[in-house]
Every structure is written in structure tokens, then in C-alpha cells.
Symmetry: C2
Subunit: 99 residues, 2 copies
DNA sequence: ACGATATTTAGGCAATCTTCTAATTATTAT
DNA sequence: ATAATAATTAGAAGATTGCCTAAATATCGT
């Protein structure tokens, strides 16, 4: 699948977006990410695997835990795709000055 | 479904993204949007219906044609969601100065 | 009103997605 | 080595997606 598709698909699920939002405040392990979510840890694990695939998070083992970190690189790429709609040869009335 | 989900899901398909990119250059009718795409007009119509649902395009009838226009409002909203990851109480090393 | 053109809607099929339970792997503590 | 804890993987069910063909709707020209 195309890379942009993977990223936007990953962002299209509310559960995954809420995980990403919680990771903004700091790293969390899989168990912590599962807390409060109305689904099993197995399902949470599956969502995490998709986020990992999309490059939106990285993971490292810390003892018994898998610790997840937000990877902001891909966010910037997705943002850039969206920004191109305004900055790069778009219609005049939609254009934003380059600064 | 949540609004953000609808928008990101709409953006997650390469066919739909390519349609949006072509609409940047100017309005196109359904037939023109279908040209060059490896699928039937019915399928293209289905994709257009999803883009409309997401608020990414608007449509008006012009004689026999349905003319599609890019609606940039929603792009800005999606962009804002992504920007929040950097500007709003993110981790220090990811933060971008507010200007 | 009729036929041609433009587009959407309906119904169906295969693939993918989200969730589950059960089984497996990895690490820690005894 | 064994038991406990943390997390993933496997396999299955139900919903959704993306595509198709066929039928329906809307407009235009005669």
C-alpha cells in the first residue's frame, strides 16, 4: 500500500487517534495505553501494530513492558501533504503567503 | 462516525487523493474526473460521494454535468488536528515556537 | 415525447478492518 | 525450572470498503 494511505488510514480510527494524543504527554507502555479503552489488550495491541507500521510510533522493550513513543517525523509529512493544497500552485484565493 | 474519522478515511485512498489533487487546478465534472482512472464511472461516482460526505468537495449541476469543486475548509481543520501535535502542550523537543 | 449523454443508485462479491477468545512468546521473581 | 506478569500472535465473526454490472434518474437536442 502507498505510504500516505497507510498514514491516513492509521489516523482514521478514533481509538488510534486517542492513543496518539495520550502519547503526546509522554511515553506509555502497552498496558497503560489499554487502560480506559473499551476493548481487550489484544485489540489495543493490534492498533499499536498499525500505528507502528505507519511510522507514527516507535517501541522499545523496558523489562516486561513495551514502551511506545510518538514519532513526529511522519506527522510532519502528512501535514506537508495537506499544506500543499494551499501553498503549491493552488487557486489564488486559497493561497497562503509563503512567509 | 466522528468527523475527523470521515475526513482521514476519505484521504486514505490514493484514487480519492489524486482526484483532490486534480481539483486543485480547477473545477472538473464527474466525467472528467473519471478520465484516466482504471475503474468504471460508477466507482468514481462512489468515491466522489465519500469526498462530498467528508466535506472535501462541493458539487453543483451545470447542464448535464455535475461539477465538483475543492472545499478547502475541511483541509484546514485536518491540518489543525495535525498541528496540535507540535504546538499545543507537546513535549519540549517537539515544540515549534508559536511565532 | 424520444433518444442520447451524464451521472448516480442498487445489488452483489471479494478483500480488508475491528473486535473477540485462546494460545504463544518474553521477561521477571522465586 | 516454574509460576506470574506483560504483551503479541493466531484464528474467527461481523461490518465496512472498493470494485463491478445493471438499472434508474436528470438534462439536452430534436
Amino acid at each position: 500500500m502507498e505510504y500516505s494511505s497507510i498514514v491516513f488510514k492509521a489516523l482514521s480510527d478514533p481509538t488510534r487517534r486517542s492513543m496518539l494524543e495520550r502519547l503526546r504527554a509522554g511515553d506509555l507502555n502497552a498496558g497503560e495505553l489499554a487502560e480506559g479503552l473499551p476493548m481487550t489488550k489484544a485489540s489495543v495491541s493490534h492498533h499499536l501494530s498499525l500505528l507502528k507500521q505507519a511510522g507514527l510510533v516507535r517501541v522499545r522493550r523496558q523489562g516486561q513492558n513495551q514502551v511506545y513513543t510518538l514519532d513526529t517525523t511522519v506527522f510532519q509529512e502528512a501535514m506537508q501533504w495537506l499544506m500543499n493544497f494551499f501553498q503549491q500552485d493552488g487557486k489564488a484565493e486559497d493561497r497562503i503567503p509563503k512567509g
